[in-house]
């Protein structure tokens, strides 16, 4: 372990804790804790949404996917395009309406809270079902992030897996526990900036090192010409399914609670266009950086001396005469160790941890708000004081993090599959429901409830019990479509209440103000 790298890394972690401590003194009630009192400026909201969205996937997963199959694989270019389009549409269509509607609808501060208020559901069934979906998927989602973080600590610093896991969990829980939403968004803001800089610098330095773009293209073409063609799989059933599955990740955006809650926290609905511009630009530059890191990495690693790679702990294998990384997802780590000064390498590794931590903290916060607001306050103690609810949220953060960390103690847990599964779960359960809630006056409580259940169940069944042929399609597609159909059909069998219709009209009227 290089001491300089470690020191840089520790300074960064201490900086995050200081932010948490600072924000502790600015958190006075539950709205502050879970929504920052709706005070976010557009830049902070945009980068926070991006950073909490992208997780370790942007620095590990996407470069790894492009490294493995160039631009020709489903989970390279097509997934990036799908995500970029999905994120843009989410900002364009959902952000402003949701910001206004959540305020009109009894100042809702969580997604279950909004659904209950939107549909005037006095039975609390909608709130409880949606909070359960959140708790279930986020516990596993958070756990997968902890596995990724521990793997990074383990690979970079030589800690044991278990030690690495608990150190990472302790830091994230500490600043989420202390500062709540304000700490999370401000750390997200710094982490998002760091991630973007890292993703711009790394591929440029690597490209220079390998001798330019043409050299990279020729090397990769020699390995497999299909790696240079995004349409390589078109025409075959499996290839088409793969491309649709990759692009379909974009459907998930409309239902991710930890992302859309940033829209609700914006200072003003008028900030949306600015936030959309910042968020879209940040994301697309990041996606390009991640894709080119993987692409150039494939050419770079194949031409390096094995002894140089093994000196910094990078394991390679030889497949068909081509030298490849044993784990494609460490390509960003490999570049940071091979091409940069230890101080910069420490910062780049901190950027990876940033990506992972900024997602875990947001998910912990949404989960803890589900416990405090949607279970504790809504069902058990309606008269709970604001201070009491903040502390319930804080302890919920610890308990959920503990459960997630315990699940993560099994290093065999599949990170990427869990991420994809949870993404599909939220996208299919909440995505169509949120869209219809915002745009269709005719949706009823029963329609929304049936749609959420249909979407979630479809993802669980399709993802776990069906395999082969059409069932290789990413489960978010059938889940999303089925939720839409069920929501519309069930809603058409009933009628929304006049109060619901009045609130819908009030929201629409405020859109033009």
């Amino acid at each position: 372990m290089d001491t300089t790298v470690l020191i840089t890394f520790i300074v960064y972690l201490i900086g995050m804790l200081v932010i948490g401590l600072f924000m502790y003194y600015r958190t006075n009630n539950l709205s502050d804790y879970v929504l920052g009192g709706r005070s976010l400026r557009p830049g902070v909201a945009a980068l926070s949404a991006g950073a909490s969205d992208m997780s370790g996937w942007l620095l590990l997963g996407l470069p790894g996917a492009v490294y493995a199959s160039g631009f020709g694989g489903a989970y390279g270019g097509w997934m990036a395009i799908g995500l970029a389009v999905g994120a843009y549409l989410n900002w364009h269509f959902v952000a402003k309406r949701l910001r206004i509607y959540t305020e009109v609808s009894n100042n809702s501060i969580t997604i279950p809270d909004f659904l209950e208020n939107r549909f005037k559901d006095k039975s609390h069934v909608l709130r409880v079902i949606s909070a359960l979906v959140i708790l279930l998927f986020f516990t596993f989602y958070t756990s997968s992030g902890m596995v990724a973080g521990a793997t990074l600590f383990e690979a970079s610093f030589g800690f044991s897996y278990q030690t690495a896991l608990w150190i990472g969990a302790l830091v994230v829980v500490s600043y989420t526990f202390l500062g709540g939403f304000l700490a999370v968004v401000w750390t997200d803001f710094f982490q998002g900036t760091l991630m973007l800089l890292a993703l711009i610098v790394v591929p440029i330095v690597a490209l220079n090192e390998i001798g330019g773009w043409d050299a990279a293209v020729q090397t990769i073409g020699s390995i497999n010409p299909d790696h240079l063609d995004m349409l390589a799989g078109v025409g075959t059933f499996a290839g088409t399914i793969a491309i649709i599955s990759g692009a379909a990740w974009g459907l998930g955006y409309f239902g991710q609670p930890h992302i859309i809650v940033r829209f609700m926290a914006l200072r003003s609905p008028k900030d949306v266009p600015k936030a959309k511009f910042i968020g879209t630009t940040w994301m697309i530059l990041g996606l390009y950086g991640a894709m080119f890191t993987g692409f150039i990495g494939l050419a770079f690693i194949s031409t390096q001396d094995v002894s140089i790679l093994s000196n910094v702990g990078i394991e390679v294998v030889n497949e068909g005469g081509v030298q490849l990384l044993d784990n494609p997802e460490v390509i960003f780590i490999a570049f940071s160790q091979l091409l940069f000064h230890p101080v910069i390498a420490g910062i780049l590794l901190a950027a990876i941890l940033s990506a992972i931590m900024s997602t875990i903290d947001s998910q912990l916060l949404v989960s803890s708000s589900a416990v405090a607001e949607d279970f504790y306050k809504a069902i058990f103690r309606k008269q709970a004081s604001e201070k009491e609810l903040v502390w319930v949220g804080r302890f919920a953060t610890i308990i959920i993090a503990l459960i997630a960390a315990l699940i993560a103690t099994n290093p065999e847990a599949s990170v990427l599959e869990l991420v994809g599964y949870a993404w599909a779960g939220f996208g299919a359960a909440f995505g169509p429901t949120i869209i219809l809630s915002l745009f269709w006056k005719g949706i009823t409580r029963n329609g929304a409830l049936a749609g959420i259940i249909a979407g979630a169940v479809t993802v669980v069944v399709w993802g776990n019990f069906l395999e082969g042929g059409i069932f290789d399609l990413y489960e978010i597609v059938p889940g999303f479509v089925l939720n839409l159909i069920v929501s519309v059909v069930v809603s058409m069998a009933g009628r929304p209440t006049p109060e619901m219709e009045a609130e819908f009209d009030e929201t629409v009227a405020k859109l033009d103000e």
Binding site: Y88, A215, V217, I220, G221, K270, K276, F277, A299
Partner: protein, 58 residues
């Protein structure tokens, strides 16, 4: 360029010879790939800039 890259990796160079792959063969990123990589995503940035100014105008 490709010759120098391949010659840096003896295993690969050997493999290329065995498989009869010409080291002079030229490769290029396909036109469709360039289109999908460079059109949709930058277009989204342009759209967001347009809506930024449209809203300012209001």
């Amino acid at each position: 360029m490709i010759s120098s890259l391949i010659s840096q990796n003896p295993i690969w160079a050997e493999s290329s010879k065995q498989e009869g792959v010409s080291i002079m063969e030229e490769f290029a990123v396909s036109g469709a790939t360039w289109f999908w990589l460079l059109v949709p995503m930058p277009l989204l940035i342009i759209l967001s800039v347009v809506s930024l100014f449209t809203n300012r105008g209001r």
